[in-house]
Symmetry: C2
Subunit: 549 residues, 2 copies
């Protein structure tokens, strides 16, 4: 099959890929941008005079398309997240987009009302998944899996009022990592926090802080402050708003709307304004009220151990024990955490401003048992990365710094300066594809050379392989670097080093040359029907002209 | 931050990754398999004596979870498909899982009844997407994009009676590649067929054939055979069944159920049993009836040109002009194609047996115009890869040959033979993670060494980094190859080559050594708090013992 005789196909491909890496990576260029899509609201407004005024093309409320530009950014974020999950030994997994409705009920508290139900079309009652955690617990129970470290990247759907500026959509992507199984305390929990740090550092989102608390401390705090047990859940919801609302407003809600005694609210107020490191844990151990509560003491004991592990992981300074952290979801039973990005304050000395949660999670030891017919529990702890919000921040940053992305990875355009060269272009491009080279050509019988070169410039293709009358006669093709406009052809004589060495030797030369050379060029020689690939590394081969400039 | 002083972090990481590639790739081992999931029907049957007899944990009808084992196979297939799409210069894109119902109506013919509608919860009427083609056309029209080469990998949903043995699900993944824009005829169409060949060759699914026809030839054939125009669509549906039903049954359906005159059916019968290469195209040009039909002649003219390009691409022998190919979807307007896998016939001389379509597509020049308020057309041609069916074939093949996959990529387990070494393990593993090494440890305070080694064997982790009392005293760690049980430690003296060279030199040595050496070992030395990484390449360093065996 191979027409690339001199080197074995695999070696040849590896070699050329190696070469192509150099011009490619230095060539991040602007490409045509479907900027209509980039905006937030995707309704295509029709004007009054149009023929079909009732017909509005749009995506459903709270959803959006991702344009190729956005897709590149999204993929980069997901790659970084997934490679971190894999670094920590997680396996991949997938579940259906919808579940039997009964699997999802009574798992989300107030969130249940936000589920998308499918129409009853005869058969089962179904709902789109609301998160990836409940399907994971269902999977564990269904398959009687007692131990598993998995990640899952997928879309989830929530019928919330979309406030798109904040990066909240009704359809959004989640990246979850969870550790299921009975283990010694706090070791998996500490790893989850380590993962959050690695990802947030890796994404270079700026300074961040991870707030940590424990559901048992929250409940213990309510108990010792005198919250009636029937009000635990609703007061917990109020407390959860403290990252968006001031204490006095939350207090007002608890007292005026939820009927909490003012002195109870004030006692809570004393606690929820506390945040700090491991010393605050020690301090709470000594707290006259909290230290009387068994649940709270268990939570504090675990947090103390957690901080010990976080110190060994070198991330303790990123973690803040924060008594105001409550987390909305019903299923948490132990440690809970939430990562927030910090803006540099505008005024010196001012408190850093929180720009919202970008990752969160916690321990949920009871959820799997809710699915198991015998109620067998599988303790779990995990985290979820908020991709949409991170995406918005990265996109914003790219806009600010004028960063552009290439939306394709094409390495070579096959072009011709002459008419009636379609056949040669088709033959040549097929050879390139078969060799694993990312190649394009214009779908025209007789495109103009200038059009072809412009296409490269606008899409960021770094190299053009040109075949014309002269080249065909000589059995060569011309290679042109789009950025430098340098050209080389197979007939250019002794400036070329033919490299037909075994791979190790080749690579050795490669790196020696890479230190010395400014540009790499590839010469594709055609000898009859045999396409031979020659690698030519030419240092300043047009140096004379360059100096003249 | 970096505690890996001697080499810059990036160089060090690259270097270690390079090293790790060797032991890793040779270590595809069996891992624990959630085999309950691997089967097709995912209902967890409960026994009569259980406590909650009404509670059945399952996924919705026609859907399934993907276990980690299945996920690895799926990802491999998708990677190959997507890298082919990128090789052809396609950009990525995404659309929401659901669309406004009105966007999807009147696009799929008989398929429309199989759409999943969402419940009307106040707001818009929504349906889950039925394919990726109609959302693509909606995207083009909405954003007024006139030219685009994109791929899209995503789930689609169809309420078909699931016949799971055939790999048909109600939720399934599609991989689409499409070229939108006004170009010279048949160049993009030929590229679509080239892509199908590259993917099917790449997946090594065995011999295959791509059937090609043109909607205009189908319509022309109906016209010249005397099918009334009102019956074109329903007769087309019957013809489409010829890959599953014998001609006499299809004929019976057309005559008895659909009221076609028997002599008309017989005329069709003469055509639809024709298949062949470009010579059949020539033959049909001469056909006394078909050559009278303008539409058919246009289709034949395009097919002739198509075959010319396919020959230049070197794939003409894989393509069969097949007059029985009709394709179910309404929106096709020109060339249509479908790839089928061929089994070697059991009896010599017998016709190769078709095992069903694994990829298909065609030209749809009118679809975008259906969304455009002014009806502006954007010609399109594309293809869709049937991932589920391919997945089933690959999974079956792996079962047959007993191939196993690793579900994690973990390179190193951090282990200890002694009690009270949790702190050292935590510190060490954090260093490895921070250096980009994929590392795990058991979440136990005091795991047994044997348990730790068994974990490596069962999950395919190739290396163990052992830290114990002796190692701690000497400031080293011991490295053990799980497969060969060889060990080396930082204190083993002059058999080690410390490699602290700049990267090019290092790589040069690397490849020289790779030819000579049988095993690679990594030694991690701990000097006080500084973790220094030394690369040791020891040829038969335990050679004496080996020979003795």
């Amino acid at each position: 099959m191979s027409q690339l005789g001199l080197l074995p196909r695999r070696a040849w491909t590896a070699l050329l890929s190696q070469l192509l890496r150099l011009p490619c990576s230095s060539c991040i260029q602007a490409v045509r941008c479907h900027s209509q899509v980039a905006g937030a609201v995707l309704t295509s407004q029709l004007k009054a005079h149009q023929e079909k005024p009732n017909f509005i093309i749009k995506t459903p409320k709270g959803t959006r398309d991702l344009s190729p530009q956005q897709m590149v950014v999204r993929e980069k974020i997901l790659d970084l997240v997934v490679s971190c999950f894999k670094r920590h030994g997680a396996m991949g997994m997938d579940t259906p987009a919808f579940e039997l409705k009964e699997m999802l009920t009574e798992k989300y508290g107030e969130g249940s009302g936000l589920m998308y139900d499918l129409k009853d079309q005869g058969g089962e009652l179904l709902s789109l998944r609301y998160d990836l955690t409940v399907p994971f617990a269902r999977y564990l129970a269904m398959n009687k899996v007692k131990k598993m470290k998995r990640y899952h990247v997928g879309k989830v759907w929530r019928r919330e009022s979309p406030t798109i500026v904040q990066g909240r959509y009704r359809e959004f992507c989640q990246c979850d990592f969870d550790i299921a199984g009975q283990f010694d305390p706090m070791i998996p929990d500490a790893e989850c926090l380590k993962i959050m740090c690695e990802i947030l550092n890796g994404l270079q989102l700026g300074d961040f802080l991870i707030k940590v608390n424990d559901r048992r401390i929250v409940d213990g705090m309510f108990a010792v402050c005198g919250v009636p047990e029937s009000k635990f859940s609703t007061i917990c919801s109020s407390i959860d708003k403290l990252d968006k609302m001031a204490w006095k407003d939350v207090r007002h809600e608890m007292v005026a709307k939820k009927g909490l005694a003012p002195e109870v609210a004030d006692r809570i107020g004393d606690y929820v304004q506390c945040h700090g490191g491991v010393s605050l844990v020690e301090q709470m151990f000594q707290d006259p009220r909290l230290s009387q509560n068994k649940q709270a003491l268990e939570g504090l004991g675990d947090l103390k151990l957690l901080f010990e592990y976080l110190t060994l992981f070198g991330i303790a300074e990123k973690i803040s024990f924060d008594l105001s952290l409550a987390r909305g979801l019903d299923y948490y039973t132990g440690v809970i955490y939430e990562a927030v990005l910090l803006h540099t304050p505008t005024q010196a000395g001012a408190e850093p401003l929180s720009v919202g949660s970008v990752a969160a999670g916690g321990r949920y030891d009871g959820l799997v048992g809710m699915f198991d017919p015998k109620g067998h529990k599988v303790p779990c702890v995990g985290l979820s990365i908020g991709v949409e919000r991170i995406f918005n921040i990265v996109e914003q940053r790219m806009k600010t710094f004028g960063e552009k992305v290439r939306t394709t990875e094409t390495q070579v355009l096959v072009a011709t300066p002459h008419k009636n060269f379609l056949q040669e272009r088709l033959k040549l491009i097929a050879e390139l594809w078969d060799a694993g080279i990312k190649a394009e050509m214009l779908y025209k019988n007789n495109p103009k050379l200038l059009t072809q070169l412009h296409y490269c410039e606008s899409t960021g293709i770094p190299l053009v392989v040109i075949v014309g009358e002269q080249e065909l006669k000589e059995g060569v093709v011309k290679i042109r670097s789009v950025a430098s406009r340098e050209e080389v052809s197979g007939s250019s004589g002794n400036r070329r080093d033919k490299v037909f060495l075994p791979l190790p030797d080749f690579l050795r030369n490669m790196y020696l040359l890479a230190e010395k050379l400014s540009s790499w060029l590839i010469v594709v020689e055609m000898n009859k029907d045999l396409l031979q690939i020659t690698i030519a590394a030419c240092e300043y081969w047009m140096g004379g002209q360059k100096k003249g400039k």
